[in-house]
Symmetry: C2
Subunit: 203 residues, 2 copies
C-alpha cells in the first residue's frame, strides 16, 4: 500500500484498530468515505468527538449515559431490591432490550483475567461491595450476569464469596438457562436472555 | 435502544451507514470507542476530516491521490503504452499490490447499471475516450479490468465498442483467467490477479 496518500493510510490504520475490522475491511471503509459527501464525513467526525464529550460513566452503577446518576439508577419505578452485575455497558443494553428486567445494574468494566493482568482492583468490585454494605441499602438479590466463559465464571465465584462476606443476607444468583457456554451476553437474542433471567439459580 | 444517550445512537447510526456494518457491529464499535482514550477518538476524528481535505481525484486517470496528476500518471518509468481500466480506486490498489503491472490506469468510478440509474454519462467514459483519441497519445493497449459481474461485463462490452470507434488501432483486452465469475477485483489475492493480468485475451 506504499502508493496510498498518507491521509488514507492513516484512516485505514484507525479503522484497523477497531475490534473485528481487518485490513481489507478497513481499506473498504476508508475508500467508501472518500467518495461520500464532505458533510457526511464531517458529521461522522463530529459524532466521534461528541461521544467522549457527552457520554460518561454513572457514578453509581458505572453504566454509560449522558447524565450521572444514569437514567436507570435514578428511575424510581424500577425494582431497587434487585441488582444485576454485568461485564460491560453493552450487556445492560442487551438485558434492557428483553423488556423483562426491572431491577438495577452494576457494570464491572470487565472480568478478572490474570493473563491480561486484570485483577479485582481493576474492576468496579469494591464499588459493588460498598453498594451492598451501605446502611440504607435495600438490595435483596444480586444476579451475577457475567458471561458464561472461564473468566466470567471465575469472576462470578469471586463475587459470590466477597458478597457473602460484606452482605451475608443478600441472595446471590447466577444468570441461568439458555446461554451456551463460551457465548457472549450481548449477542444473545432477547428470548434467550429472558429465559436466562427467569431461570437463574442459587449460586 | 431507547435508553441510549443521543451521542451514542448518533455514532451507531453513522457506523451503520458504512458498507458491511450491521446494527450489532455498529453498536460494538461505538461502545468500544467510548472506552478508548480521548486522544484516540480525537485523532480518529481528525483523520476522517483530513481524508476529504487532502485526498482528491487525479484529473487524468481519476484515481485518488494527494497530488494531481497522481503519482502513477506522473511516473515516467511506467509503461505509457498500456492502460488498465478499473471500476474504483481500490482496484488500482489491488493491481498495484501484485507488483506485476507497470502500465497506467483509468478509474471509471463505477459500472453501467441501469437499475441504479448509472449510465455511461455518470462514469469517466468520455474522459477515457478523450485520452485514447488525443493526437499525441501513445496508448497501444487497453486492458478492461472491470469486475467479472453482469454489470462489469456489460460495461466492458460497451467500452470495447466505443473504443473501436474513436481509436480503432488500439488493442482492447479483457482481464483474464483466475477471477471466478461474480467475484470482486479488490478481494482477489495478488497471485490470482497476476494470472488474470497475464492471461488477458482479445475482446
Amino acid at each position: 500500500m506504499e502508493r496510498l496518500p498518507a491521509a488514507i493510510t492513516k484512516l485505514i490504520n484507525f479503522f484497523e484498530r477497531l475490534p473485528g475490522i481487518g485490513p481489507k475491511t478497513a481499506a473498504r471503509l476508508a475508500f467508501y468515505l472518500i467518495q461520500t459527501p464532505t458533510s457526511f464525513v464531517e458529521d461522522f467526525s463530529g459524532a466521534l468527538v461528541n461521544i467522549k464529550r457527552e457520554v460518561s460513566l454513572c457514578r453509581t452503577c458505572f453504566n454509560i449515559d449522558d447524565v450521572s446518576p444514569c437514567r436507570i439508577c435514578s428511575d424510581h419505578a424500577r425494582n431497587r431490591e434487585l441488582l444485576c452485575v454485568v461485564e460491560k455497558p453493552l450487556d445492560v443494553l442487551a438485558i434492557e432490550n428483553t423488556g423483562n428486567y426491572q431491577g438495577l445494574y452494576h457494570v464491572l468494566g470487565g472480568v478478572i483475567n490474570p493473563l491480561s493482568h486484570i485483577g479485582p482492583d481493576q474492576l468496579k468490585i469494591s464499588e459493588l461491595l460498598n453498594r451492598l454494605s451501605e446502611a440504607d441499602t435495600i438490595i435483596k438479590e444480586v444476579i451475577l450476569a457475567t458471561n458464561p466463559t472461564m473468566e466470567g465464571e471465575a469472576t462470578a465465584l469471586y463475587l459470590k464469596r466477597e458478597i457473602s462476606k460484606v452482605a451475608p443476607k443478600v441472595k446471590v444468583s447466577r444468570i441461568g438457562h439458555g446461554l451456551p457456554l463460551g457465548a457472549d451476553v450481548d449477542y444473545a437474542d432477547p428470548g434467550t436472555l429472558t429465559e436466562a433471567l427467569r431461570g437463574r439459580q442459587d449460586f
